[in-house]
């Protein structure tokens, strides 16, 4: 594959230098009127330090980023079975809606009378979330799942404080299979994390859980469906137990896609749950964000929902939406907001997209989403089980398939090697080595937007690779990828001598780039 060319390009795959290696400080891709150049009012703080930021004209900029983009894999190119990430189709209708002038060109602090439609939209998406989850309240402002977790844990902290127990109840029970954001969030909210072991069949160990309960327990953070792609059978018992022991039930809703429209977290005793609009409700992942993590709250936690809050202003018989941005504006409602999660009102641009998605599916379509997501996963499980070890594969799974490398490892091929081999086959791999409770985990989430044809093609590839392992061709896997834009990258080197930015002196880079 590494056929040398003079240009450094390989057919349509273009070598691309850094903008700092090709741009000039004089060049620009933006034409602006010449400033008049009178006396400034900067009080002597005019920039003295050189910026030295290179610029590119528009044609050069287009090319730079189009070339870069082609080095990326994406949902629109193929199956993206990253477990726990719900990489489903992102409808372009949603992009169009988010760009409507009446949404995109609105400032968050405009006079309330000029943004009635925007707040109505927030009300509407709140209504959908509450109906779907069967919960009484929702905080819209969290900016992603982890931020929603933080919102939920702060609400719990506020509730405990109202009970005068915030000093005594500091322990939060977190299953060992939990996503890293759960313990990290609990810690960020000032709690002490206590791990709960799992069972043989990939669920929380109810006995161990019961044993850990006590007057110092603030809450349990449970992911359901859990990170092994299984539904926590004992979820109701767990809810009852934590409640009777005086704690709260935080549910990580990252895997909500498996049950949306089929199961209401409100019916399971959940006190708080974040919803990743960028997972279940298809807002694009955008190479790492932005997301949105609206957090639904139980009656017990609702009073502590953060600011701002939508209120209806009925003064002299009118009906106006308004935003309560400070506690005093809620006087008399009995609400004691936990504070503010961020500036302004949340990820409006994601609300518009998610609402368009909800309206398109409707209650019937959303239910079908869950069923097809689960069906696709179980179909893959059935096809792959004979060829890989599926640690909890005896019963049905939810929306993701958990395999491990225990059967291939003896042949010298690990999860990472299997993943890299998939790159050559034109697939983004599954999630690797997560959840941590399963060694060499391969977590596969196909989502409902994959046709059976694509699932079969992927299964055929996985099986062919398994056979190749059987045949003892470990070297093939270690050498992968060969056909991807790059060969395997050296993570250790990156971490040992961190190089986090381009520097003028680093200009030998320019040469290397052009290689």
């Amino acid at each position: 594959m590494n056929t040398e060319t003079t240009s450094g390009n390989r057919g349509l795959l273009q070598a691309e230098a850094l903008i700092f290696e090709v741009g000039h400080a004089e060049s620009t891709g933006v034409d602006l009127p010449k400033p008049k150049g009178g006396k400034d009012r900067l009080g002597g703080l005019k920039r003295k330090t050189a910026l030295a930021l290179p610029g590119l004209t528009e044609p050069e900029t287009m090319r730079h980023f189009v070339r870069l983009s082609q080095k990326n894999y994406a949902i629109d190119l193929g199956l993206f079975p990253l477990g726990s990430c719900t990489m489903k189709h992102n409808p372009r209708l949603n992009e169009r809606a988010a760009r409507m002038e009446g949404f995109a060109d609105l400032h968050p602090l405009q006079p309330i009378a000029t943004v009635q439609g925007a707040i109505e939209l927030m009300e509407e998406i709140a209504h959908w979330l509450l109906e779907l989850t069967g919960m009484p309240a929702v905080a819209l402002s969290p900016k992603a799942g982890a931020h929603g977790e933080f919102c939920g844990m702060l609400a719990i902290h506020a509730a405990l404080k109202a009970r005068g127990e915030e000093k005594t109840r500091r322990r939060v029970l977190v299953p060992s299979s939990a996503h890293g954001t759960n313990p990290a969030t609990a810690a960020a909210a000032g709690f002490i994390v206590d791990e709960v072991p799992g069972t043989e069949d990939g669920r929380v160990d109810l006995e161990a859980f019961r044993a850990k309960l006590g007057p110092d327990v603030a809450a349990v953070m449970l992911t359901n469906p859990n990170t092994c792609g299984l539904f926590e059978r004992d979820v109701k018992e767990i809810a009852d137990l934590i409640h009777t022991s005086g704690g709260y039930f935080y549910c990580d809703g990252a895997n909500y896609n498996a049950i949306v429209g089929r199961v209401r977290p409100g019916d399971l005793g959940v006190d708080a749950m974040h919803i990743n609009l960028h997972k279940t409700f298809s807002t694009p992942h955008g190479g790492g964000g932005p997301g949105a993590g609206p957090t639904v709250l139980s009656a017990a936690l609702a009073p502590y929902a953060p600011l701002p809050q939508i209120v209806i202003d009925k003064t002299n018989g009118g009906y106006l939406y308004a935003l309560a941005e400070h506690e005093e504006e809620l006087a008399g409602t009995g609400r004691k907001p936990l504070g503010r999660m961020c500036a302004f009102h949340g990820q409006m641009g994601m609300f518009t997209r998610a609402l368009a998605y909800m309206l398109s599916h409707g209650s019937d379509g959303l239910r079908q989403v869950a069923e097809d997501a689960v069906l696709n996963a179980n179909y893959l499980l059935a096809r792959l089980k004979p060829h890989f070890n599926a640690p909890f594969g005896d019963g049905p799974c939810m929306h993701e398939v958990l395999l491990d490398d225990s059967t291939i490892k003896p042949k010298g091929v690990e999860t990472i090697d299997m993943a890299k081999a998939l790159l050559d086959e034109g697939y983004h791999p599954f999630t690797t080595y997560f959840p941590l409770v399963v060694h060499g985990a391969m977590l596969i989430e196909p989502t409902e937007t994959e046709p059976k044809r694509e699932l079969d093609r992927f299964a055929d590839v996985m099986i062919a690779l398994a056979e190749r392992v059987e045949a003892g061709d470990a070297a093939f896997f270690k050498a992968a990828p060969k056909l991807a834009p790059m060969r395997r990258l050296d993570d250790t080197r990156a971490a040992r001598q961190p190089k986090l930015r381009w520097k003028p002196e680093g200009n030998d880079a320019a040469k290397r780039a052009a290689e």
């Binding site: 400080a25 891709g29 900067l42 920039r47 003295k48 019916d267 964000g289 961020c342 069906l375």
Partner: protein, 447 residues
């Protein structure tokens, strides 16, 4: 349903292959009582035509900024975003890709990240920057928590010029952690007031420049005083374009620079999504929150980029992570990078100059209005003015005449005792007619 590829035949065949009688078999682990028998009570599926009409109806109940004479900033700014920026971020390969966990097929995202980190470092005058936070306010909260980690102290001092939303956001996050928040009273131009609040338990002093009233401040004396007490100097800002014209915090002794990047490449979007910028010194690298992209080589020795130093992050470090952030502001960060690439030093400098000149014109026009006093003396593109009436009602009144005059300080902080203070901003989007119209409408409204 147009987004669901499985046909009923597929569903039947697949269930048969699995050996399940019905889909409910696959939900066997769900307590029967919790399994909904029928769809919840919400509207049924709709086609593109209906959904578009629905969204259009809501959109038309709003007054887009561009349809008014618009002077509102205070944390979000209306700048021109070149058509090519929005076109590029919508490319499937950027829009529908995930966090670059498989670097061999994510070099597009990764190289753009590396370019972003470099641009942010250059812009703020700092050594390194991370791959973005949610927004300026959460970046500011993270900075406070990082300072506490670095100094192992728990007292955070805020100047009275910090955007109230930023202060509240940091307070909410910090107090849960048991950190103490100390604030100087809200003041148009009195950042040095923090000097009196410093003590040897102080982890950080947080100052905003340009501050919420538009005032720009020389951070050096504050930084020196903070360092003398062993505290970190944290500089924040809400208007990234200002860094094209004013001395960067990094050159004035800041240890952490955090702020809002929305004004470069991103639309107003009614408050989000935006992009938090976060830069610091190399020596604090392992205490820094959020993802970072680093340079390395592949098996053929070719330069490439990967996410690195993940031992700071929640997915490895769990409860000991430097932050719980996972998903960040990827696409907004890309928009920032593209717009900044188009601007370059030449474009950004000119853009900043234009903003400053428009703001000067605005200040002079408002100063001429009887009863109005311009309070901000040193500014970039935003000013605070005192009006002889309640600023909030005034803003609402002017809106009915097609002028969005800015925001009343009272709306941001009812307790500041500044009910007669209006915060107004001008950018390259404002025409001279806009400014004249504002002054005229204001004059009339005050008569």
């Amino acid at each position: 349903m147009r987004y669901l590829p499985l046909t009923d035949t597929d569903r039947r065949d697949m269930l048969a292959f699995i050996g399940a009688k019905s889909i409910d078999d696959l939900y066997a682990d769900v307590p029967k009582s919790a399994l909904l028998k029928k769809p919840v009570d919400l509207p049924k599926a709709q086609g593109e035509i209906e959904v578009t009409r629905h969204m259009q109806r809501l959109a038309e109940k709003n007054t887009p900024a561009g349809r008014t004479a618009f002077f509102l900033g205070a944390g979000a700014y209306r700048h021109h975003v070149p058509a090519s920026v929005d076109h590029l971020i919508q490319r499937s390969e950027f829009l529908t890709s995930y966090t670059p966990y498989q670097p061999e097929i994510a070099q597009g995202t990764l190289q753009a990240l590396y370019e972003f980190q470099t641009q942010v470092a250059m812009l703020t005058g700092m050594e390194i920057a991370n791959a973005s936070m949610y927004d300026g306010s959460t970046a500011c909260a993270e900075a406070a928590m990082m300072a506490a980690r670095v100094t192992k102290r728990n007292r955070i001092v805020f100047s009275g010029g910090v955007h109230p939303h930023y202060l509240e956001t940091a307070r909410t996050a910090c107090e849960a952690l048991g950190l103490e928040i100390v604030t100087a009273p809200a003041a148009i131009d009195d950042e040095k007031a923090v000097l009196g609040l410093l003590d040897d338990q102080t982890a950080a002093v947080i100052v905003q420049s340009p501050n919420v009233f538009g005032t720009i401040t020389d951070l050096s004396p504050i930084a020196d005083a903070a360092h003398a007490k062993g505290a970190l100097m944290v500089a924040t800002f809400t208007e990234a374009v200002s860094l094209g014209l004013i001395e960067p915090p990094g050159a004035m002794g800041a240890d952490i620079v955090c702020g809002e990047g929305q004004s470069i490449g991103n639309a107003l979007n009614f408050g989000g999504p935006y992009v938090g910028l976060f830069a610091t010194r190399e020596k604090f690298i392992r205490q820094m929150p959020g993802r970072v992209c680093g340079e390395t080589v592949d098996a053929d020795g070719k330069r490439g980029f990967v996410l690195t130093l993940s031992t700071r992050e929640q997915h490895i470090r769990r409860e000991k992570a430097t932050s719980n952030i996972c998903t960040n502001s990827g696409l907004c960060q890309l928009a920032f990078t593209i717009h900044m690439t188009l601007l370059g030093e030449a474009g950004l400098t000119r853009l900043a100059q234009l903003n400053h000149e428009k703001a000067i014109a605005l200040a002079d026009a408002l100063a001429k209005v009887p009863g109005v006093e311009v309070l901000t003396k040193r500014f970039f593109n935003e000013i605070a003015v005192r009006v002889p009436t309640n600023a909030w009602t005034l803003v609402d009144k002017l809106a009915t005449q097609g002028v969005i005059a800015g925001v009343a300080m009272q709306r941001l902080d009812p307790d500041a005792g500044m009910d007669d203070v209006l915060i107004a901003c001008a950018t390259e989007m404002n025409t001279d007619e806009d400014i004249a119209l504002f002054a005229k409408a204001l004059k009339e409204a005050l008569q």
